[in-house]
């Protein structure tokens, strides 16, 4: 109970201090807000993109187009031959008839198809490579498939998806790096603000130590200052990223529509927002801790008086 009230009063006291130097603190919070919002926006956008690529399972499947001259028995024989290949986990035969039906269902162009004398669809075997294959092994496999007798053509579908995946990976890494740099910036900004705070309250700190304040007691208000900075900066970052994403969402979604993609930019949701705020609080506390451990210990009532 005593512990709790001491912390409560330190937390509120830090807020009071905060109000006293409002402009400086607001500037610090704005810097934190922007520094957190930037990576947050990129991470959110990338999350949205990653969702697109996860709608398909990670590994591309190969569409093996069969020659029209193949009989049904020959098709089935080919299917088991492909199934037996070491790099393939699953293979499905889609007959020309099935292909036509599916297409008709999807597009509603059944009548038009019926006008055609001949089924325009070839029989296809959909072969899914095991997902441990690297891109080189996948292309080798595609070569093997293409060389099989009775195979007309092999297309690795969703190759674009792989490209997208690579771009997302690249962008994630860049974002992670930039995020790390900005996190360091936040720690330094909070640390510097609290360092100034400590300098301004030097005589107060001396008096506290003089009358028996422990290190923990003297440290507490400054750590709470870092906490408030992080909390408010984090909330600002949440708001900023929500605004930016709302502004960008419409054109982004229209663009995605042009690519016939289900991609829709959205967020930040509650969980994202809380993560941003928690990150802010964490970095604020780290910054405070750095400042406090570096500067508070040096202030002793014994020195210079």
């Amino acid at each position: 109970m005593r512990f709790f009230t001491q912390h409560l009063s330190a937390a509120i006291g830090a807020l009071g201090e905060f109000q006293r130097r409002l402009t400086g603190n607001l500037m610090t919070i704005t810097v934190i807000g922007i520094a957190l919002a930037l990576p947050a926006i990129f991470i959110l956008a990338l999350d949205n993109l990653a969702e697109v690529s996860q709608d398909w399972d990670g590994t591309p499947s190969a569409n093996v187009y069969l020659e029209r001259t193949l009989s049904e028995q020959e098709q089935t024989a080919l299917l088991s031959q492909i199934d037996a290949l070491s790099g393939i986990t699953r293979s499905v035969l889609i007959s020309a008839e099935q292909g036509k039906t599916t297409f008709a269902e999807r597009t509603g162009m059944a009548e038009m198809l019926n006008l055609l004398e001949q089924n325009p669809f070839p029989a296809v075997i959909q072969a899914t490579p095991v997902n441990t294959l690297n891109p080189d092994e996948v292309s080798a496999l595609v070569g093997t498939l293409a060389d099989l007798p009775g195979v007309e053509d092999v297309r690795l579908d969703q190759a674009w998806l792989q490209r997208l995946q690579t771009i997302v990976d690249l962008a994630s890494r860049a974002t992670g790096l930039i995020g790390a740099l900005l996190a360091i910036a936040v720690v330094l900004v909070v640390g510097n603000t609290i360092r100034l705070d400590i300098e301004n309250r030097r005589s107060e700190i001396e008096i506290m130590k003089l009358i028996g304040g422990t290190d923990a007691f003297v440290r507490r208000p400054f750590v709470y200052t870092g906490f408030w900075h992080g909390l408010m900066g984090g909330m600002l970052a949440w708001i900023l990223s929500a605004i930016v994403i709302a502004v960008v969402a419409r054109p982004a979604n229209r663009l995605a529509g042009l690519y016939d993609s289900g991609f829709a930019l959205s967020g930040p949701w509650l969980a994202d927002g809380l993560t941003i705020v928690a990150t802010g609080v964490f970095l604020g506390l780290v910054g405070a801790w750095v400042a406090v451990t570096q500067h508070l210990r040096r202030i002793e009532p014994g020195e210079g008086t």
């Binding site: 008096i207 009358i211 304040g213």
Partner: protein, 216 residues
């Protein structure tokens, strides 16, 4: 209560402030530390709450050898010693009440009890009606009495005062000293550094006279 044995203090610059002094102050004693400027009076007093560490010798306070105290234990030593300074050392942006309450806040006293003790301390120094005031609006003598209230509020067994009347006129000085005598009467051990030989003479307590870092 307080025992110095062969205590010397050399400041980092090479200044020998104290050159091996030994004395004992027993419980309930009131002792003046006198001597010319630079004799080492402040240094002597500052060693007791470990505002400085001695270079040599041993200091025992309340049966604790200060040499054995780690940095972490120092705050608890200081809580058992009330300190009063010539320049009061009050927090200018807190009310008189909050200033006096500070040692209790640090020690984690419960609010009601703290309030009661602060009022009692302010009453003792005659400033109960000024508890909401800003320290800067008080006279020098009143500020000094706030400092005394803060020093006694947690009821320490030892009070240390470094020239508590240095800035005060003779009448006020005497008043402050009489206040100290009151605390002494209820069993508090006091060590007071003072320049005011006439006043010290008149009060007639034990004296430790320092000259150039040695007891004379």
């Amino acid at each position: 209560m307080i025992r110095f044995h062969g205590v010397a203090k050399r400041y980092p610059g090479g200044n020998d402030a104290l050159r091996g002094i030994s004395f004992e102050v027993t419980q309930g004693e009131m002792v003046f530390v006198t001597g010319p400027s630079g004799a080492g009076k402040s240094t002597l007093l500052r060693l007791i709450p470990l505002l400085e560490r001695p270079t040599r010798g041993s200091i025992i306070v309340n049966d604790v050898n200060l040499a054995t105290l780690t940095r972490r234990r120092i705050p608890y030593l200081r809580r058992s010693i009330g300190m009063i300074f010539q320049d009061h050392r009050l927090l200018p942006d807190r009310s008189v009440f909050d200033n006096v309450a500070l040692p209790l806040v640090i020690a984690g006293f419960e609010h009601k009890e703290a309030q009661r003790r602060v009022r009692a301390a302010l009453d003792k120094v005659g400033l109960l009606d000024r508890e909401r005031s800003d320290p800067a609006t008080l006279s020098g003598g009143e500020q000094q009495r706030v400092g005394i209230a803060r020093a006694v509020v947690s009821r320490p067994s030892i009070l240390i005062a470094d020239e508590p009347t240095g800035n005060l006129d003779p009448a006020l000085s005497e008043e402050i000293m009489r206040l100290f005598e009151q605390f002494n009467r209820i069993g508090v051990t006091l060590m007071i550094a003072s320049h005011d030989h006439a006043l010290v003479e008149r009060l007639g307590h034990r004296r430790l006279h320092l000259a150039d870092g040695a007891l004379a």
